[in-house]
Every structure is written in structure tokens, then in C-alpha cells.
Symmetry: D2
Subunit: 346 residues, 4 copies
């Protein structure tokens, strides 16, 4: 057992919560899962049994009140994130929280203020930053391997749309799906985005349109350092999760490819083919979910800055809001319409 | 010798003219190059000598007046295209003309009117349509291999910027470089573009900015059938000519890769690598330059419709003008600002 | 905690033993590591501490005598495998043993006889069978995706040679390195090998030659069903672990590629390149080490046949001995020179 | 028209002869096709008409007697090559001859003696040496990019077997098909082969077996410099012409891939696939057929050594004979069984 062990409470035992529980229980040294909470107590209990967590509760306040728990991992529903962050910060717990913090800026700002006041650490769950391929792109850009960045292109498509019930509470494509890509864009280019222009439509499922959302979008980004970026989103790529980026620089370019469960290539009298790419985020980003928590634990145990901050979460939300506004008003929208020069909400 | 032979006159013996001369002389059956014209007579004479063309002249009217010449291939400077098309049409010659017809709509419309009146054939030099890889994408889309098209992405980058003298007469990035990609977008999606939004800047060479042009651009396209497209252009990709497309459809996706002079992959203790892609358009599109002329000759000899029409040339020019306007006014620009419903200039 | 849990003792806490300990402790449900043994007690103790194993010993007989332990995982030095298998079988323990069972046939046969008499399960550590890419090839062959198999090609190269001290006890290239490829050949073609012809030499390090071994070899295989196979081995591929197969069949072909830590492709003005493949077996075959133990645990818990038998281990050893004889006598060597028709040693 | 023009006579207007005629007529500057001969005069006449060759004959002696013809390109049937080489050499003509020179060594040696005596140039039609990808491998080996060569692997498979009538006159798989690969092996490794061991069988078509030939073979090669090579041949790869090489060296490795008519990659809900590779040698090696003749013409016009010599043709034939002997006697066969130290036939 390592010298230092971080005692952790898990809030939310749904799909992503159980994945984090599994990682914390089996993959990450130097953590100990002490309690799991879920509004459905049976969820919490099953998760506790499955991963040998000593305590389960239907009230996350039990975790916040637990004197030995130093950090919480928040995987509850999006509409509870901001409040739990506030309360956890006041309880002196370090916080790892799934994205987004909230779907509106005032909630985010209250949560971030509480974190700042309590001087606890808050890391947002933009797990893709920890993926080996995107990390490599980031590293190439930082190290100048491709010179000064000029253009960015992100492709991000899900294999199939979620249920309409999920769409309804998601905040829409830009806040639910593109938010990851906005963060990736800022991470890779290492500059803020000044302006957003979005085109989008319903092409996959008319029910998504009836729910007031779009399912296919392309968003144009203008960065503060001059870089021009694009994001292509679609709720459905029938061949599987399509997650790629390309960056052009003055001295070269770097791109990533999708990932596959095997490398086998089959040639027959019709085609040269391979099996489909990894189907969705659980498979594709499995390792990054482990690495992001390792990074968080390392930041807490050794008092280092976290890799993904509340500010990053706030900026991604603002970019989503800007994209929504751009789509609604059919014009390029400046980020400064949302934030003044001091970084405050306009 | 084939039963039917088309007698051809070549107007313009610069770089692209000499390439067409070589193709006509050695690669394309059923044509006979009868005369070559160039304002610099020495150019014409050298070309004639190199490709065994019986006659050379410094006045293209000699070609138009030649009774046996049935068709002309126009490779003179852009500012002469429209006038020569008019005159050639009046002389009853079929016309293959390099793009663009002109940099302004009135000139194009006069040229197209002359062609219509004379009932001669006019094919524009959008050679990329004849490239095997783009043809394959077009075919996949037409055959429904990827279902209904939803998103299009075109990457089109030159290895290095042209001299400033060339930039000055080029009409700018959108009319000189993007024009090929506008045509490709219409060709692949098989729908007209309704709206254009362009972001662009000077990132490669400040002299290009001083000449009033941009060198890096990303253009967002909204098609009449709902497809959303993007074009990424840059005057410089240090790794060589970067020419790729991707199309997402409801039943799949299709993408093309760059082409290489060899397939060798070298692994050493630093990397797994290959040599750079084909350097520029002469290498990359060599075969397509042959195939486009074959297609033209076939259309003339067998009285078929040409593959790339004057209308296609006109639309590509309008798209370039719309992109210029979008950049100048920083807003999405409707094509209808340029053409009324009857297809006439607004 | 799953309904059924297999109590396991680990014998040998060297590099590969610690890896299995980690997998058993964190990756594989339904097992419980009860005790670890290593001739160096400190090794056993550190391993126990690291993976929360209740007991550590320097005498594996403690494991064999433990009444609750149902299965052993043998990772001790090769020269102890056969004896421990015998003793473990007599103690009624199910056995997972790293390859090879022994470097001579009589030892193997005594061990297998003990296993047969005790009716315990024995699975050999040919982990590559469980790799997703090789599994896919196996599946394609079994399902007839490529028709009737005609030719097989295996490439298997290490990134760098082991220390000479390791070479000395290894049994030589054919018994140490090729043994995995012999098993893979049998696995993929699903037929026994009748004849072997080997060419080999010292090309990497003359010290390997001085130790009486070779470092580079190509082995030709004739299978009972007519398939012709080749194996290319080298102790050093400076670009990293090179592990690929190709199978030609009457209806197609299937091949695998190396695996990489990331998918990033970098283009600059020199080349289009990617980072080197995964460096060695621990990285490359990480998942297969987990899957093979899962398969063993499943076989024991649900009384199914094991996936890799003692017979498979015996055949791989015989193939290695045949390759040695072929190299020494410079002639094709029949397997029947080692085994008579009843499968007994000739 | 270039300063120097080589006047050429073409002997044999079958498939490969017509291809050379087309290349000489349209692709290669500085040559003039003066006469074409074919035993079927109609063949010769059609070829002459198609490529504007002034004279056609059914007797190749007309070409040998023509005072202005300086060089001949021999594409007649294999059994006539040696005699025509002899006669052409005596007539003082430079000679380009399709492989093989003959199927027996005495015929080859008589032909080569005549060439030596006449001091004319003789180039053999091992066109693959001129392929851009194989050239790149050769260059990498020569330049030391991969260090000292250790292992070679050649894959060479046809899309479908030829008619049995062709098999009957072909000399068998090793002399008809592998002969190209033997030459490639010598070219890439830049060392002579000392020993050959072949395994082969009838797997594709039993009629080939009835004709006394095999259709699938793997050949092991031991080079004089220690390199170990393998060649995999099959008369049928249903996915198309499979032509690849891999070379391992002390400082890296280099490999080639098949070539494709387009680069399009299609992803749908079943697979990620591309169209089949170029179907056969006419498509795959088109450019190399042009380059080999350019090289020959250059050697003649500027009195340089030819790139592929009669000696190369002789060695490839001996390797084929050695492989046949190895298969018949089921043992490794030394080249020295065919040639003594002075390079004479043993």
C-alpha cells in the first residue's frame, strides 16, 4: 500500500459513476473508496458491493460529512453539479466533477467562488485531454514540432443519438457534445477563442428537432492568436465513434486517427477492409478516464495545480452558449458578448 | 489511327499549355494538334518543335481562322479567357478553357452567351473532377453507398505560395485557389450552395497581405439540400500538396488520402515514416489532366454533353465572389445576393 | 464480490510473476490471491505488500499445502516448471504455467502424466493466442472468411537482445523466442506441423554466437494440411517489438499490424511519420495476459476445457527441438523423428 | 525533336510487345519505332497502324537487316529469345529482351557469348527494378538507411492463374513467376544467393498439378553476405496482384505496400474498406515498363552500362533451376551445383 492514500467519496453511481468506481477500486493506486452515494440507494449499494466500498448511502451529505473523506468524485446528474461543488467546497473536500459544471453561467460562478474561497482543488472531467493521441498532438504543438499553429479541425461524432429523454435534459448539442470539442480546441491551440459561428440542422432524427435541438453541426472558431478552427459534430456516425483532430502549423501538420479493437486487415475479392473502430466513449477513452483521475489524485496528494480547471469548464460552457446564440441569430458571435475584459460575465 | 480525329489548336504555351500539348501529342488518341499560339512567338515555336505541331503563331486569331481546326484549348492568361471564348465561339470552334473564365460576372456572361448562340461545346478545366479518388467519392455519393450526405470537408493546401506577381493578377485566394474547391464541393454534394461564410488571414507571408490578399482561409458552406461543408485552404503546407476530402452520410462516410510517389515505409529507432506526398498539382493530378481532355474530345466527337460546363465555371466564380464579400463584411453571404431566381446576376 | 471466487497461489514473483499478481489483484474478478512464493523471500514479501496478498513465503510447498488454494500460477524459472507442475498436480491444484514446461521432452512427459493422473487442469502461458488481433485472425480462419489456408507468414522480432546470462539459460532462440511463434502457427492454421527447415545466424551480437546461440532465423514450416509457413525471428528490431502475421487463403488474406501508443501522424518537410510501435511484450500484450488468466479461471470455475493445453506446450517444444536439429544438420527435419504415430516420443 | 534519336525495331507484337510499342511511340522521347515484326503478319500490321510505325513484317530478319535500326526490343515467345539475341548481336544491334533469355543455361550462354563478341548492349526486362517503390527500397539499402541487411521477405502473387496452355510452355512456376522475385532479391540485397530451399504444392488448381507444375511456393534463400530471404509465391490471390517486399537491417526496416487505383476509404456499418489493389502487372508496373526502356535508350545513346545485364538474366534462371532441383530432391541446393567459381556452368 502506497505511503499516501487519498480517501475518496463517490457521488452518483450511474454509468459513468460505476466506471469511475471501477477505476478507483482497481486501477488507481493511492486511493481508497470510502463511501458511495446515489439518490437511488439500490444503485449505491450494488456499486459498493461490486467494488468492495465499505459504505453506501442515498444522501451525498453523508459523504460531505465524513471526516476522513478528503476528496469527492461527482458523477450525479448535471443539474446537481454546481450545488454539490459548492457544498463540497464548503465541507473542505477536493473535487473532481464530471462536465459540465452547469448549463448556466451564474450557477458556475457561484460554484467557482465557493471553490476559490475554500481553497480546495477542483478538476473538471474533460477526460479527452488525457488520451494518448490528443496528448501527443498537444505535446507536438507545445514543443513546436509543427511550428506556429494556423488551422485546426476537429471531428467528433457519436455512433448513435441518445434517447430523446436524454436530449431533453442535455442543454442541447453544443452544451452536451460540442463542449468536449470546445475544450479540446482550447487545449490543443493553447489560446482562447474570440468568436464562434455555427451552422446546424436536424439530419439524423426528426424527434431531436421536435425536442428543440439539432443533431448535426459545424462550428467555425476564431482564436485570439489568429488560428482558425472548425468542429464537425454529428449525433450519428453509423461506423462508430469518430474522434479525430488535425492541426496545421507553419512547420508541419499533425493528425490523429480513430482507434480499433484489432489491427487485422482482411482482403477478399470485394475489398480490403478492417473491423469498425471502437464503438463509443467507454471503449475509446477507457485509459483517459483512468489517467485523469490519477492526475487529480496526484494534484491533491502533492498539492500541484490540477490539469483541467473550473475556468476551463466555464470557458467551454460559454463557448456552447455562444454557439447556441450564433445558430439562433445566424451570425458570428463574439465571446466578449458573454465576458468582459476582466473575465466577468457581461 | 482512329476513325475520327479531332483537329485542335492550342492557345497559350505557358506551363499548363505545354502540359496540355504533351498530353494531346502523346497521351490522347483521336486528336491532332494543328497549331499552337502564344503571344511570345518563341514560346509557341518551342512548343511546336517539342511536340511536332505543324504550325506556330503569335496570334491566336490564326487558329480561329484555320478552317480545319475544330476545337481550341485555351491556356492563355486568365484576363484573356472570356474574350477568346467569345471569339472562338463565333468562329464555330468547340472550346476547352482553363479556369476561371473571368474574374467578373459580366465577362463570363458575355462569353457564355456567345457559346450558347454558336451552339459550340465549352468545357471548363476543373480537372480534379477527373481524378480517380475524387471520382470514386462522387460515385459513392451518387450510388448511395454512404446514404444521404450530411457533412463535407475539403482540405486543399499548396506546398508553397506563388510569387507576389502571380498573387497580384490572381483575383485573390478565393478566386484562384478556392475556386477548385468550390467546384469540388458542388460536384461531390450534387447540390447548389446557398450561403458562404469565410474566415481568413495572412499567416504564411506578410507580402501576400501587403498585396491585399490572404493566404489561409476556412470557408463554411450551406448547401441547398441542407449539407454543411467546410473548405480549409492554405498557400503553404511544408509537407507538400495536401488534397483531401471527407463526406459523411447517413449510411457511412468516405474520405480520400494524399498520394505518394512510392509506398515504402521506413522504420528506424526514431519513427515509422514515409517520403512526402506528391509535391504539387502537376504530379498529383497528372492523370486527371489527360482524362479531362479525353472527356472533352469524346463529347465533341460524339456530340455528348460536356462534363464541366460554363455554368459550373460561373457558379464557382460566384462562390469566390461571395467568399470575398463574406470576408470583407464578416457575415454569412447568400448566393442570392449575386443571382436572382432565374439564375441571372442580381 | 462474484458468487464464485477462485483462491490462487502465485509461485515466482519476478517480472512476469509480478505482472500476473497485478492482474489477478486488480483486473480479474472472481479470483483471490491467497499466497505468493519466491525463492527470494524479499521478492515474495514486496509482491504481497504491493498487491495486498495475505501471505508470502520462500517455499512454494507452502502454497501446495494450503488447503484453501485451488489453483497455482507458476512463474518461477523455467528449469523448475516441470517439477512444480508434477507436485502441484499431486496436490490437486489446477495449474497455470508460463511457457515452456521444460527444455526436454522427458520432463514434459512426466509433468503431463502427473496432470493427467490427477485430473487437474493445466493451461500453458501462450498469451498471444488471447491478443485481440491474433484472435481475429484465428476467428477469420475458423469462420472461413479467407477460404482454405495456403500460406502463413509470421514476423516476430524483439526490440533488443536479452543479457547473455539470460541467453545461457534460455535453451536458445528456437526454444525461447520461436516457441511462441510455433504455437501461433499451430493456433492460426489449426493443423499440426509435419516438417521444419531452419536457417539462422549471428547477425546482431557476436556474444550470442559465443554463447552457442543464434540471433536471427527464418524457419520454413510444412503443415499436415499442406499449408506452407514461414517464421522470421530476430533478437533485435531497433524500431521496437515487431509482431505481425499474414495468412493467405483461397478466398482472401488476413494480416495484422504492429500496435502503437498513439495514432498521431506528423507531416513536416522531411517525412510523414509516427512514433515507434509499443516497445516490448509487457506493453504490446498487456491485455492478452489478463485475458489468458480470465480464460483459465473460467475453465476452472466452470469445468471447461482450457484454451492452451499441456499438449500445445509439448508440441511447441518439439518444434523448437526440430528447428535446432534442422539448423545443426542443415536439412528439413520431420516431426516424426521426435514423435511416433501414437504421439509418443520417438 | 531531341538531338539524338534511337531508331528501334520491335520483334513480337503480342500483349507485352504492343505495350512496349505504345510506350515507345508516345512516352519515350528520343526513340523512333521504324519497324515491327510478328510471326502473325496481321499482328504486326495492326500494331504498326495503331502506333504509326512505318513498316510491318512477319520476318524479324527484316529488322535485323535494316541498316538504320540501331536497337531491337524482343518480345517474341520465350523459346525464340536466345536465338534472336544471337542473331541481333551479330547484326550489331543493341538489344532489349524480355525475360527470360531461355529456359536452359547452354542457350543463355551462347546468346551472352554472341553479345560479348559483338560488344552490343543487352538489357533484360526485369522491369520491377524500375518501380518507384522497389527503387526506394534499393536506394535505402544502398544508402545505409536501414544499416546492414539481415532478412528479406518478398510476397509475389498473381490475381489468377494463367491458362494451362501458358503453364505448359512457361518452364514452371520458378522459371516463369519466381524469376522476377529472384532478380528482385539479388537487386535489393546486393549480394549473390548461395543456396535455395523450396517448398511448393498445388493448392489453387489441380489442372496445374496435372501439367506437372505447382501453383503455391515458399522459397528460402541464403545469400553470400549472410542475409536470409524468403519468397512467397502463389498463382492466385483473389484480392488482386500482391507485390510487396520487406527488408530488415541492423538500423531499421523498410517495406512496401500494394498500389491502388484510388485512395478512397469507405466506412459503413460493417467495415472500413477500400477498393482492391491494382489488378495485375500491366496496371501495377505501367510506369516501370516506361522507365526501363528509357534507361535502355539512355544507356545506348550515351554509351553507359545497362541497368539489368545478361548476367542478371543468367543468375535468375540458375536460381529457378536450383529451386526446381530443391523441390524435386527436397533438400537445400547450392548454386555452386550449377556454377563453378569462375562463374561457368558446373
Amino acid at each position: 500500500m502506497p505511503a499516501q492514500t487519498l480517501k475518496v467519496g463517490l457521488i452518483g453511481a450511474g454509468r459513468i459513476g460505476r466506471m469511475h468506481a471501477g477505476n478507483l477500486a482497481t486501477q488507481i493506486e493511492s486511493t481508497e473508496l470510502v463511501m458511495v452515494a446515489d439518490v437511488w440507494e439500490e444503485n449505491a449499494r450494488q456499486c459498493a458491493s461490486r467494488y468492495a466500498i465499505p459504505a453506501a448511502t442515498d444522501d451525498y451529505h453523508d459523504i460531505l460529512a465524513h471526516p476522513e473523506i478528503e476528496a469527492v468524485v461527482i458523477c450525479s446528474s448535471t443539474d446537481t453539479h454546481a450545488l454539490i461543488i459548492e457544498e463540497a467546497a464548503r465541507a473542505g473536500k477536493h473535487i473532481f466533477c464530471e462536465k459540465p459544471i452547469a448549463l448556466d453561467l451564474p450557477s458556475i460562478d457561484r460554484a467557482l467562488a465557493a471553490v476559490a474561497e475554500a481553497s480546495v482543488k477542483l478538476q473538471l472531467g474533460f477526460n479527452r485531454r488525457f488520451d494518448a493521441s490528443y496528448s501527443r498532438v498537444h505535446q507536438a504543438v507545445q514543443a513546436g514540432e509543427i511550428g506556429r499553429v494556423q488551422q485546426l479541425h476537429i471531428i467528433s461524432r457519436d455512433p448513435a443519438p441518445p434517447p430523446i429523454s436524454y436530449i431533453n435534459g442535455s442543454g442541447g448539442l453544443f452544451l452536451d457534445m460540442t463542449i468536449h470539442d470546445f475544450d479540446m480546441a482550447r487545449f490543443l491551440v493553447n489560446s482562447e477563442i474570440d468568436e464562434v459561428f455555427a451552422l446546424a440542422d436536424v439530419m439524423v432524427d426528426s424527434a431531436i428537432g421536435e425536442a428543440g435541438d439539432v443533431d448535426t453541426a459545424t462550428i467555425l472558431l476564431r482564436f485570439n492568436n489568429g488560428v482558425i478552427g472548425t468542429i464537425e459534430n454529428c449525433r450519428q456516425a453509423v461506423y462508430g465513434y469518430d474522434q479525430r483532430v488535425e492541426v496545421l502549423g507553419s512547420a508541419g501538420a499533425i493528425r490523429t486517427e480513430n482507434q480499433y479493437a484489432n489491427t487485422a486487415i482482411i482482403s477478399d475479392n470485394h475489398s480490403v477492409r478492417r473491423d469498425l473502430p471502437l464503438h463509443f466513449y467507454i471503449e475509446r477513452y477507457m485509459q483517459s478516464y483512468i489517467t485523469e483521475i490519477e492526475s487529480f489524485v496526484d494534484a491533491v496528494l502533492h498539492d500541484k495545480p490540477v490539469s483541467v480547471t473550473g475556468y476551463d469548464g466555464r470557458m467551454a460552457l460559454i463557448l456552447g452558449l455562444a454557439a447556441k446564440k450564433s445558430l439562433a441569430e445566424h451570425r458570428p458571435v463574439l465571446l466578449s458578448e458573454f465576458i468582459d475584459d476582466a473575465g466577468r460575465e457581461a
